[in-house]
C-alpha cells in the first residue's frame, strides 16, 4: 500500500506539472484547518466534466491551497454555502456535512 502510494505520488509530481499547465491542477491536499483533505481535479474535471469556472470564478482562486489560509475555511462556512459548500449542499452534490471520509482521506493515507 505504501509503495503504491509512493509510486502515485512520484508519478503525480513528475507528470502532473506538464499536464496541469494546460489541463487541471491534479490532486490538492489541504492541511488546514485539519490535515489531509483531498480535492481531486481528476474526479471533478475529467470524470464529472465540470468546468473550471464553476469553482474558480467565485469560490477558489487559481493558486492552489490559497483558500486554506483564510480563517473562514471551515466546515461551518461550507455548510453556509462557501467554498466546497457552494456545490456540496445536498442538491448539486452530497452535502458537506455527510460522507466525511470521502474528502478527509486520513493521515495514514500518506497525504500530508
Amino acid at each position: 500500500m505504501k509503495n503504491y502510494c509512493a509510486i502515485i505520488a512520484i508519478t503525480l509530481s513528475t507528470a502532473m506539472p506538464a499536464l496541469a499547465a494546460e489541463n487541471h491542477g491534479g490532486d490538492v491536499v489541504y492541511t488546514k484547518a485539519v490535515k489531509t483533505v483531498l480535492f481531486s481535479h481528476k474526479l471533478h474535471v475529467e470524470e464529472k466534466k465540470l468546468s473550471c469556472d464553476l469553482c474558480h470564478a467565485r469560490n477558489f482562486v487559481m493558486q492552489s491551497l490559497k483558500a486554506q489560509e483564510n480563517d473562514d475555511f471551515t466546515m461551518k462556512s461550507m455548510m453556509n454555502g462557501k467554498y466546497c459548500g457552494a456545490c456540496h449542499n445536498g442538491i448539486m452534490a452530497f452535502a458537506s456535512n455527510t460522507r466525511c471520509g470521502d474528502c478527509h482521506t486520513g493521515v495514514k493515507r500518506g497525504g500530508a
Partner: protein
Amino acid sequence: MKPTKHDLSMKNNEGTENVPMAERRHFLKMGLAITGIFAGGTIFSALSVIDKVFASTDEFTDKYPYKPHYGMMLFQNRCIDCERCIAACGETNHVPQEGYRTRILMREMPDAVGLKREFIPVLCNHCNVPQCTRVCPTKATYKNPENGIVMMNTSKCIGCLTCQLGCPYNARYFNEEKHAVDKCNFCFDTRLSLGEKLTACAAACPTGCRVFGDLSDKTSDLYKAVHQLERPIWVLRPEAGTRPNVFYSKDVTAVTFK
C-alpha cells in the same frame, strides 16, 4: 382462480417526503429491533447491554456501580482521521513514539454506494468485565473502585504481557521507558484528577466524534447519547464478553458543526 393483477405503475408514488416524522421514527425503530435480533446481539441497544451487565447484581442500586462512571461514545462517521486525538494523547500522557494509547483504523469499501471510506477510532474500552485485570498475576492492572477506569500500577508490572493477549482491543503496549505495560486511563492522572472534565483526545477532537462523560450522570451528553433508541449503538467485539464502557454509533442524519 387467477390472482388479481395490480399494475403498480398505475399507482401514484406517495414519495418519502410525505411520510410523517413519527412514521419514519417508528420504521427506524422497527429496523433497529430487527437488525438487533438478526445480528445475534452484535448490534443492540445500549440499554439492553447495561441491563445484561448489572441486572443480576442486587448491590447496584443504580445501573452504574461507579460514581462517576466514565465512558465514551464514538460517533464513527464523524472521525476524519486528522489524528489530533493521537497527538494530544501522546503529548499529555508522554506516550513514546513506538506506542499508542488510541489509534484510528481505516475501513475502505471501493464498491460501496455513497461513502467509500470510514475511520474507526479505538482505545481502551474500560470494560466492566475486563480480562486484562483478571489475567494479571500481580494486580498491576486493576479497575479503579471509584470510577471504573482500568489503571496500571507500573511498579507491580512484571512484564509477562498476558494482559496484552487478554485484551480483545489491542489497547495495551509495553512502555520501555516506564518498564511496564502502558494503556489509556482516560487521562486520569494527567487531566481528570486535576479537575479537567474531558480526556485529551475528546478535548482535541474537532468534529465531536468523541463524547466523553459520566454515564451515572443523567444530564451528561454521554448519558443522552447512550440512552436512546433513535440511533443504533454497538460495542466492539461483544463476543469477548467484556461489557465495554466505550460505545460506537453514527449520526444517522447529517453532522452538525460547532
